[in-house]
């Protein structure tokens, strides 16, 4: 029983990281209107940026956060220029295949530049445990959950209160109408894409801190998990996809308590297929959110 509770706590922590990835993913899908395969690679780049910053400037979490955010922002700009800008009017599959190409490009370049092996992440947060009765929570988990919550609140403020956020929402609802209203659609779509990618990068840094490892090939399964979480939340609904991320994290951790840890990804994708069979529109009950 104790073990189960600890696993749920682990699941919550991991789920909050997945929620951050999923939020980024749904911002990208919502604003750009096209689905991306590069999210996993963006996450990986964020993790590596934070890793090198920690190596160079010591264990400053805020600095690493900014570095991973901005590195992923730059990658997001690259992805936007290559995959989306030319293809707003073209059939969807063209930009889709383009994102697959870019994802291959980034992954293999990263393997060449960063080396193909796993790297140990530095001990950024000291290893302390708090005991709540029989349940143990580590300091890392607490800091991760706090970071995710703060970032989520910041994103929600950005989207609901600022001018940029309003134009982002307008673009995600109707591109031609917002174009007629005098919004620079292409630039807004790029900003939306970059914000989503930046959140993915921060999630990558948190994951690397949590698992204590990072590698150039970590992206592909993470990208799919981000997709699963945001499908669970209705793909473009930001709040629901955060909830979906939490769900996926908890289910994974409960699943590996039953079997072995090597089946972790199997549970995430099996759950995705199950969701698509039972309730394909996710938690968001809005009609017409299908991409």
């Amino acid at each position: 029983m104790e073990y189960l509770f600890n696993q749920i706590i682990n699941g919550l922590c991991q789920g909050s990281i997945y929620a951050l990835m999923a939020v980024g993913y749904s911002v990208v899908v919502g604003v750009v209107g096209m689905v991306t395969f590069t999210h996993g690679e963006v996450i990986m780049i964020g993790a590596f940026a934070a890793f090198y910053i920690f190596q160079a400037f010591g264990n400053n979490l805020l600095l690493g956060l900014i570095a991973s955010f901005s590195a992923s922002w730059l990658i997001g700009m690259f992805v936007y220029k290559v995959c989306y800008e030319r293809f707003f009017n073209a059939p969807r599959h063209i930009s889709l295949i383009c994102t697959i190409g870019v994802s291959m490009l980034i992954k293999n370049l990263a393997q060449i530049i960063f080396g193909p092996n796993q790297k140990p992440m530095l001990n950024v947060i000291e290893n302390k445990f708090f005991a709540l009765g029989t349940i143990q929570i580590s300091l890392v988990q607490v800091i991760i959950i706090i970071t995710v919550v703060v970032l989520a609140i910041l994103l929600s403020l950005f989207i609901n209160k600022t001018r940029w956020g309003i134009s982002l929402r307008a673009v995600s609802q109707d591109k031609s109408a917002s174009y007629l209203m005098g919004i620079n659609v292409k630039r807004t779509a790029m900003i939306g894409n970059c914000v989503g990618c930046g959140f993915g990068g921060v999630a990558g840094m948190l994951l690397a801190i949590y698992y204590q490892t990072l590698s150039a090939t970590m992206g592909s399964s993470l990208g799919m998990k981000a997709f699963s979480s945001s499908v669970l939340g209705g793909l473009t609904d930001i709040r629901c996809s955060a909830l979906g991320g939490l769900c996926i994290g908890i289910i994974e951790n409960l699943g590996i308590t039953i079997t072995s840890a090597s089946f972790r990804d199997v549970f995430a994708f099996g759950f995705l297929i199950l969701i698509l069979i039972i309730k394909p529109e996710g938690f968001a009950s809005k009609k017409g959110v299908r991409p």
Binding site: V82, G101, N108, G270, P291
Partner: protein, 345 residues
């Protein structure tokens, strides 16, 4: 570029019989002319990937669904052969259709939850499925041998001939490739194939004209999966040892890049792509790990300049929205900054 392809087509249509006979003679005489096993190995790879890319092309090119995890089906076929041959000693020639059937049934299971949704869901589900298959093969030790793989897969036997090296195996791959192209050509020209093309061009219009979209989509997926399974079953005794590292996502992307570079929606396209990519692999061997980078750049360049691929179906939706593109250019010329961003629902 367009003119060259057009001319090639005209020449082919004029001298159809001569070209087919010539090609048949060349392919049959090739092992006698160049008996080096290195060269024959490359030929085997080209033929194998041509069939594999062709099976993916049936899904991606003919019905416009996006499958990315073809390596998963390939894996299932190969493991099917390996397990049935080593554990139960079933004849190779019986296993081939059996492996294909098993893979087709798995394909049906994959496509069912996504039939009513648009393509993107299918592509991610296939991607996840490919990983699930690989992880299962890696971890289910009692059946698949886990990380040790399956060793000593028996070589096939045809009327007393032992088919064991690449020179003789070439003929099996050739037979499978020819069978695949022949059957697919017949299927594509039939009612089923026309339904697939209609779904690719406009799903809604096809539905309104009485095409049962989910049924044909599922059948299309099963058909593609079937051939991937067959190729997997033929591949396993060729290498005689399989483990899960053969079937990573990179393998799936490799197959996908062949389809995209060669051309989607035609039968020649994947063959062409397979020849290009495999020859490139041999040429680019010195640059080693930069190879995948080169493929990635090739894919992006292909999408920018010729989305339907080198010899793909240029009169289809795969070639992009030509009318819209022209309008966009015109509006750019007129208004300078008028982008004309509109969303296709």
């Amino acid at each position: 570029m367009k003119n060259i392809i057009q001319k090639c087509k005209e020449i082919y249509i004029k001298n159809k019989i001569i070209i087919v006979v010539l090609a048949a003679i060349i392919t049959l005489v090739l092992p006698v002319l160049v008996p080096k096993s290195y060269f024959m190995g490359i030929m085997c790879r080209i033929l194998m990937y041509a069939t594999l890319a062709g099976s993916l092309n049936v899904i991606n090119g003919y019905s416009g669904q996006m499958c990315i995890g073809q390596a998963g089906f390939f894996c299932i076929g190969a493991y099917c052969e390996a397990i049935l041959a080593t554990r139960f000693g079933i004849n190779f020639w019986i296993i081939i259709p059996l492996a294909g059937l098993v893979t087709a049934i798995v394909g049906l299971g994959i496509s069912l939850p996504t039939l009513k949704m648009k393509g993107i869901y299918l592509s991610i589900v296939t991607l996840g499925f490919s990983e699930i298959v690989r992880l299962t093969a890696l971890n289910w030790e009692s059946v698949t041998g886990g990380p040790m793989g399956i060793k000593g897969i028996p070589t096939p036997n045809l009327f007393g001939f032992e088919i064991s090296n690449s020179k003789t195996y070439y003929f099996i791959f050739l037979a499978i490739a020819i069978l695949f192209i022949f059957v697919t050509k017949r299927v594509v020209k039939s009612r089923i194939g026309r339904a697939w093309l209609a779904i690719r061009e406009d799903q809604l219009a096809a539905k309104s004209l009485g095409v049962e979209v989910p049924k044909y989509k599922a059948f299309n997926f099963m058909y593609g999966a079937f051939w991937a399974g067959v190729v997997g079953a033929v591949y396993a005794p060729y290498v005689r040892f399989i483990d899960s590292t053969f079937f990573t996502l990179d393998e799936g992307f490799n197959i996908l890049s062949m389809v995209i570079i060669g051309g989607q929606g035609t039968l020649v396209g994947p063959v062409c792509g397979s020849v290009i990519v495999n020859l490139l692999t041999e040429v680019l061997r010195p640059i080693g790990e930069w190879r995948m980078v080169a493929y990635a750049i090739l894919i992006i360049v292909m999408m920018w300049w010729r989305p339907q691929g080198l010899v793909g179906a240029s009169d289809s939706i795969l070639a992009g929205d030509k009318g819209n593109g022209k309008k966009l250019e015109k509006s750019k010329q007129k208004g300078g900054g008028a982008h004309g961003v509109s969303v296709r629902s």
